[in-house]
Subunit: 367 residues, 2 copies
């Protein structure tokens, strides 16, 4: 067990936004929510997965829907606790041991910290994705057959829903329509899980990894190239491209931020181009028309100079970025993982090829 | 208290379908469900509103969505009990005293009979409309500020939702999107109510009225004209038109059966025409371009010969019908009632005029 203080939260917000691959919410908003909760309630206890008991019981809390909308309807901050407590009451367990994030992301890594601070509950160092994904069944617990429901959903107005569904795709369908009706963004608690389930099916150490990533990115002592090298080493990643955003096509549809962006290469990538497709999260990266990374592997955009993560809702014409690719957690590289969140599921007609293989086929410029 | 046997159910299904004004479901399907429940569990006890205590607690059960779809996905029959019990459990009351229909209608008057039979609960002689309406806030309880939630919703596949909303229009919005996602039709329990609330805000004696209407319509001893006269007297109604359906435009949209039909007059109405607009229920009747009846007053189509009610999903080219208009319950004729379910709410640019006034302006042919 260790305490998460303000500095830790700053780092985690940055690192989790990086792993959010464009989704999971804006790290500035997330950070502000968590800092304010800690200011009021004191630091949060972080437990590693080894420190929990099999029979302990945990409830995650997260934001659902289009991250761009969350920026406009900033939650009051008590909705996270409300949706968490609603689900806890519905389940009827005498004691909820703690909470943890559903996914990595600037906001979605911070919401459980707010809940943990406000309810004085432990936070567990794990999540259900090891990255961010747009749909509720894209969770490692789902790959192991764990039910997403009962789940609770709420909006900033105070409406509440509870769902119990026949499978996790139906959870996604019903929660998605409710989210759209609630104004394209909602707050949810789902995948209530035991300690044993977390040990078997969660992505472990993800908060600590986020913090390490955030520490590298926010270092004042290294220049961009040095930081990048350290970052790529830590996450076994590749710099796929460096360039300027020249075109962004996007729409908010069905409770998602959908779209694609075109990048024009700079420096080593001069005269080359890259196209990145996204649905909240970046899904496919093509360099000069050739796929160089595909979901479930991670495609992360960072600012060219600062290496700060760039989320899909903040894409802007002219912004210079680096595109970094890294391998997904091994649970996503199984048949079930690829079926659930691979390129075919999102409508792309590619067989999944791991990023390590893809980068061999195209010339990857090393820094 | 009296028992409802098979004959009573046959009559109630017919009479309730008449009061359903085109909506509320097909009486044949409704009847078959209720008869099968009674066959298995014995007759159902019907209590008048005078016989219940203020602190008694009741939960209605109903079908929501496009009635035409229900015909295709006939429920197994245990979903009504399931959704009722889900809400009962959620509310946490030790004892649910009984059940009652939300609205009059061929199916929606029968579903509470199925629940009452299967759970051996009393049925109360009241509903929340005195007719059928398409949306969840169009309930006399809502007019008196009673919350529609907590509500439970389920589908034939086994998915379950519970909603608690900030007002009853939000109940309609969230339950409607869930219903559409569930396949345009769902089963719901909502407006949990005390005996005192039913006494003050319910529409009383509606099941008994339905039964009387059904008795007249199914009489073998009278001809169509005699039956019609008796029926109009009982419900203070008017025959607005008799004619042949020559055109029906309809679509299933947003979980509703929407459309309009054109009728060509016969006999006394020869060379005249009528147009009826509907959204599950018949809303506006125009004779030769002049409005002769409008919501919340009732516009009921019956077969020309048998006087059996004609629901909107069974409208057919060439069918000969009588159009009967009758005054809505006084609760619907208040300012709040007209605001909630009057012509403006449905997008028609008419000020509400009671049918008794409207029929004075046009020549109403008497039988």
């Amino acid at each position: 067990m260790r305490y998460l203080d303000k500095d830790a939260i700053e780092r985690i917000a940055i690192g989790a936004a990086f792993l959010g691959t464009g989704g999971g919410g804006d790290p500035y908003i997330g950070k502000m929510m968590a800092l304010s909760a800690i200011e009021k309630n004191g630091p949060v206890r972080l437990y590693s997965v080894d420190e929990i008991e099999d029979e302990d019981f945990f409830i995650p809390a997260a934001m659902m829907g289009a991250p761009s909308v969350l920026v406009e309807k900033f939650p009051r901050g008590d909705e996270f606790v409300k949706v968490f407590q609603k689900l806890a009451k519905y389940i009827g367990k005498e004691k909820i041991t703690g909470t943890y994030p559903m996914e990595a992301g600037g906001v979605n890594s911070m919401i459980p910290i707010v809940v943990a601070a406000q309810l004085d509950l432990p936070l567990i160092d794990c999540d259900g994705m090891g990255r961010a994904f747009p749909e509720l069944q894209m969770v490692t617990f789902n790959l192991d057959g764990i039910s997403a429901t009962p789940m609770a959903i709420t909006d900033e107005k105070g409406n509440i829903g509870i769902f119990e569904t026949i499978d996790n795709k139906w959870t996604e369908r019903l929660a998605r329509t409710a989210t759209v009706e609630m104004g394209a963004s909602s707050l949810v608690s789902l995948y209530p899980t035991t300690g044993a389930q977390i040990k078997k099916s969660g992505v472990h150490h993800i908060i600590t990894l986020s913090e390490k990533i955030g520490e590298i990115i926010s270092s004042k002592e290294q220049n961009a190239k040095e930081k990048l090298q350290e970052l790529l080493k830590l996450v076994s990643g590749y710099q796929l491209f460096q360039g300027k955003i020249v075109d962004v096509i996007r729409e908010t549809k069905g409770g998602f931020n959908l779209g694609k962006m075109n990048l024009e290469g700079i420096e080593e990538n001069k005269d080359e181009n890259m196209k990145v497709h996204f649905q909240n999260e970046n899904l496919i990266a093509e360099k000069d028309g050739q796929v160089v990374a595909m979901t479930p592997d991670l495609i992360c955009l960072v600012d060219y100079e600062t290496l700060l993560p760039v989320t899909t809702e903040s894409l802007k014409y002219g912004k210079r970025v680096r595109v970094i690719g890294l391998p997904a957690h091994e649970k996503w590289r199984t048949d079930k993982g690829i079926e659930t969140a691979g390129p075919n599921y999102f409508g792309y007609d590619y067989d999944y090829v791991p990023i390590e293989e893809l980068v061999k086929k195209v010339v990857v410029k090393h820094v």
